[in-house]
């Protein structure tokens, strides 16, 4: 729930920025905000709303209700969850602080189009970028946690076909996050490295850097818009049956369409954001068709919602009103989207307020309205109290009116460019903008009613019946704690005592043992302070990096790095002392992943996001190679025989790692230790050779400040090979830890999961090198 409240807080910041903009735009030729502040407000409004408000608020709800819905006590990895929260907060702090540094915050639009954005000086923008990297890291960790939880922690009997719709759509969202966010990390890491280290990914004019950025950003960006939308759809699908008295129409069709069409295609339509970048016409055609194709499953979903409402007897209570609003607004937004998917029409609408109207109808209209529906729907389960129905209805009516007054006029402003801070008094621009600004204040004002209702419910609300909506879902089978104390719950671990919801579907277990298990297990794990230390360490370090160079910067980096290292050591020490011993794993419904352990599943999910991370970097490199007219022949720069030798060394360490695993499978701890040591030595040799190569390259003038195209080659080489080297180094550190545990006699024939999983990681590092070596040394 901490997630949830934090995201509301960022939502308020985002809203204030929006109101500032609307004040500025309310009348023509206004100078309330100068261009300097207006550009920051636009940019940060977009970034904060999308990354620190909309996605996290859905994750916050999911954090609380997904475990309840699947009959689990908590998410699979509680400490990872805490880590994910603190990274999210750290990233947010960096983003907000950026307003206060000289030069201000990022101001090139939420898409941060390069090279425009590279050219804006100042540490503020860099802070935002690095904050986004932290946020993306947080999301990736969170995704791993949710995927494993939903796959692995379902209570016995909770087979996939019984999974509630909200959980299903969270699963879809999370899968899209897992594969989209690594590309965001790659994009902003490259851009930050341009700003801090002086690499030239987006400043070499010879390689069409804007196309490179657009591809990376929108490859992430389009899935991101679904990431924002899908949880809302999950809420709608989950709660409509309770208000219509009949099951959701075509439920399975919705699931199949989302899983097989929306998810895969969402990664195949991004170029509709690039119709005007001069990409070839055939490519535009392909992406236009893909975009129209992806709107078909949305038609199915929308029709199903509409059909369910028409056929059923609709009870117009607050949650249902918001559902209705969301569906209506989604239909409007979807229709405008289809217009935009035509490359021809897009020529007219591109960059105008028509686009602004489009995405606000879907993002605010569809996504936020359905999240409001979810809040009203679930607040009785969360507080044990009922919200005020009359106030809820008023909130809906005013929000709906305010929203349309705000955005509907923008549909007619298709001739007014967006992202301008003021405008001349032409045609009806003044009138329409004035109306929109009034709408903005109505809409924002309406949200105080939501706040009032939440507070009222929390402290005064009448006790709610145990299952007010007659829902069949598992979350209502357990009871919330009534009478919340005035101190708001500060952690997800405040989830109410496990009144026996696990095994509800199979055999009711005895509540006593369960309450005990829940408290002992995650209660304590959550209170580990290591995740906070790690996140803040990373944050301070990156803040320093953003201000680099200078004494202050280096000081911050040292402090941050030290805190990070101490926290990491502490974490390892906690584990060695078994401070947070995991509870024994219970049997659950795991199809189709039976027989895969929780940790191994986590490892695979992690590696699958790593594939996208490295893949995005390598794809960027391949793009650069393709775009650059001249590029130094790698063989003329790098020492090929030495590289070959190093490749063989790494491959050999893969073999010895396997022998180590084989040893412990036979229960031979001594041989495990020996082979681990050999692996460690080979890995260190690999790194040693790498470092010597770097030193040689540096002294022979292969640096970031070399003349073009050497600076470009150097940028790519140092960043990508460096990233791989960092992974090797992390592997070496983990090996020290594993060897320490081996020495303590922790691993046995039956129990040596950590070794097996480390083997997966190490093999993955080897695979990446299989591509890096030819790409950088040969081709």
């Amino acid at each position: 729930m901490l997630y949830f409240f934090t995201s509301l807080y960022f939502g308020i910041i985002g809203a204030i920025l929006a109101l500032l903009m609307r004040v500025q735009l309310s009348v023509p030729n206004n100078f309330f905000l100068s261009a300097y502040y207006y550009d920051q407000a636009v940019t940060m409004h977009g970034l904060i709303m999308i990354f620190w408000f909309l996605s996290p608020i859905a994750i916050g709800l999911a954090n609380y209700f997904v475990p309840l819905q699947i009959g689990a006590k908590d998410l699979a990895f509680p400490r990872l969850n805490a880590m994910s929260y603190w990274l999210y907060l750290s990233g947010g702090i960096m983003a907000v602080l950026s307003f206060f540094v000289p030069g201000g915050s990022a101001d090139a639009g939420w898409t941060n189009y390069q090279p425009l954005a590279v050219l804006t000086p100042g540490s503020g923008t860099t802070l935002v970028y690095l904050g986004l990297v932290l946020l993306a890291a947080s999301i990736t960790l969170g995704s791993i946690n949710f995927v494993v939880s939903i796959i692995w922690l379902r209570a016995p009997g909770m087979s996939l076909d019984k999974l509630p719709m909200f959980t299903w759509f969270i699963l879809f969202t999370i899968i899209a996050m897992l594969f989209a966010f690594p590309t965001l990390i790659a994009a902003f890491a490259l851009a930050s490295s341009d700003r801090i280290l002086g690499t030239v990914f987006f400043t070499s004019t010879q390689i069409q850097p804007s196309i490179l950025w657009d591809n990376l950003f929108w490859f992430f960006g389009h899935p991101e818009v679904y990431i924002v939308l899908l949880p809302g759809f999950g809420i709608i699908a989950n709660i409509v049956p309770q208000f219509t008295g009949r099951p959701l129409a075509a439920k399975n069709a919705i699931l199949v369409a989302t899983a097989l069409v929306v998810l895969p295609l969402s990664f195949g339509v991004w170029m509709h954001h690039m119709f005007l970048t001069g990409i070839p016409v055939d490519l535009q055609g392909a992406f236009s068709i893909a975009t129209i194709a992806i709107s078909i499953p949305f038609d199915v979903i929308t029709l199903s919602f509409v059909e369910s409402m028409i056929r059923g007897r609709v009870k117009l209570l607050t949650p249902m009103l918001f559902v209705l609003g969301a569906v209506v607004l989604f239909i409007i937004g979807g229709i405008t989207g289809v217009f935009l998917s035509s490359p021809v029409l897009d020529r007219v609408f591109r960059g105008s307020y028509f686009v602004v109207a489009h995405f606000h109808y879907v993002m605010v209209g569809a996504a936020i309205f359905s999240i409001f529906a979810g809040i009203y729907y679930w607040i009785p389960r969360f507080t044990g109290r009922m919200y005020n129905e009359r106030l809820g209805k008023i909130h809906f009516v005013i929000s709906f009116i305010g929203f349309n007054v705000l955005y509907f006029p923008m549909n007619f402003l298709f001739d007014m460019p967006r992202r301008i801070f003021t405008y001349p008094n032409i045609g009806n621009w003044a009138l329409l903008n004035g109306i929109a600004s009034v709408g903005a204040f109505i809409f924002a004002g309406a949200q105080t009613l939501l706040a009032a209702n939440l507070l009222y419910t929390w402290f005064r609300g009448p006790p709610s019946p145990p299952n007010p909506w007659g829902s069949p879902d598992l979350e209502w089978k357990s009871q919330p704690v009534l009478t919340p104390s005035p101190t708001a719950p500060t952690d997800t671990s405040e989830s109410p005592p496990a009144g026996g919801w696990i095994g509800q579907l199979a055999t009711p277990a005895s509540p006593a043992t369960e309450t005990h298990a829940a408290g002992a297990e995650h209660g304590e794990a959550h209170y580990s302070s290591r995740p906070i230390q790690l996140s803040f360490g990373a944050m301070i370090f990156l803040m320093g990096a953003a201000f680099y160079p200078g004494i202050l910067a280096i000081g911050l980096m040292v402090i941050g790095g030290a805190l990070f290292a101490v926290a990491l050591g502490g974490w390892a020490r906690d584990d060695l002392r078994h401070k947070f011993a995991p509870p024994p794993e219970e049997e659950g419904d795991r199809w189709p992943f039976q027989g895969v352990s929780k940790m191994k599943l986590g490892m695979w999910v992690f590696l699958s996001s790593e594939i996208v991370l490295f893949g995005s970097f390598l794809a960027a490199y391949i793009f650069i190679r393709g775009a650059a007219v001249t590029f130094p022949a790698p063989g003329s720069i790098h020492d090929i025989p030495l590289g070959t030798l190093n490749t063989i060394i790494l491959a050999t360490s893969g073999l010895t790692m396997f022998l180590a695993i084989q040893a412990i499978r036979q229960g031979d701890r001594r041989r495990l230790m020996q082979w681990m040591s050999v692996t460690f030595m080979l890995g260190s040799t690999f790194m040693g050779i790498k470092i010597s190569e770097w030193v040689n390259l540096g002294s022979s003038g292969f640096t970031l400040s070399a003349p073009y195209p050497f600076n470009l080659a150097a940028s790519a080489y140092y960043i990508i090979v460096g990233l791989h080297g960092a992974h090797v180094t992390a592997g070496l550190i983990m090996m020290v830890y594993l060897m320490k545990k081996t020495k303590d006699g922790e691993y046995t024939k039956e129990s040596h999961e950590a070794i097996e999983n480390f083997g997966l990681y190490w093999a993955f590092i080897d695979i990446v090198w299989c591509f890096i070596f030819p790409l950088f040394y040969l081709l």
Binding site: I279, P280, P592, S608, A619, G654, A763, F771
Partner: protein, 87 residues
């Protein structure tokens, strides 16, 4: 995986990388495109060997394979479209 297979994979890794380098010296001026193609195939085969044997994907339930296949599918789309957008 039996130990003999592990040695087999390792031997393949070594032979493949040596072949890559050999091909590079043979073809880099004669036929750059052919060299690129051959080296890419070799690199992919190395990666596949590790995934299948060292990471034991062949013994895992099919669903796990999705976690390897899906990202590769998406990345291929990115790569192809990216290169195509160069025109």
């Amino acid at each position: 995986m039996r130990t003999s297979v592990a040695f087999g994979v390792w031997a393949y890794m070594v032979i493949a990388v040596l072949t890559e380098v050999e091909i590079y010296y043979m073809l880099r001026t004669a036929n750059y495109d052919l060299m690129t193609a051959a080296v890419s195939v070799l690199a992919t085969s190395q990666a596949t060997a590790i995934v299948v044997f060292n990471m034991q994907l062949k013994d895992e339930p099919g669903a796990i394979r999705l976690f390897a296949l899906i990202p590769i599918m998406f990345l291929s789309a990115l790569l192809i479209a990216e290169l195509a957008s160069l025109g």
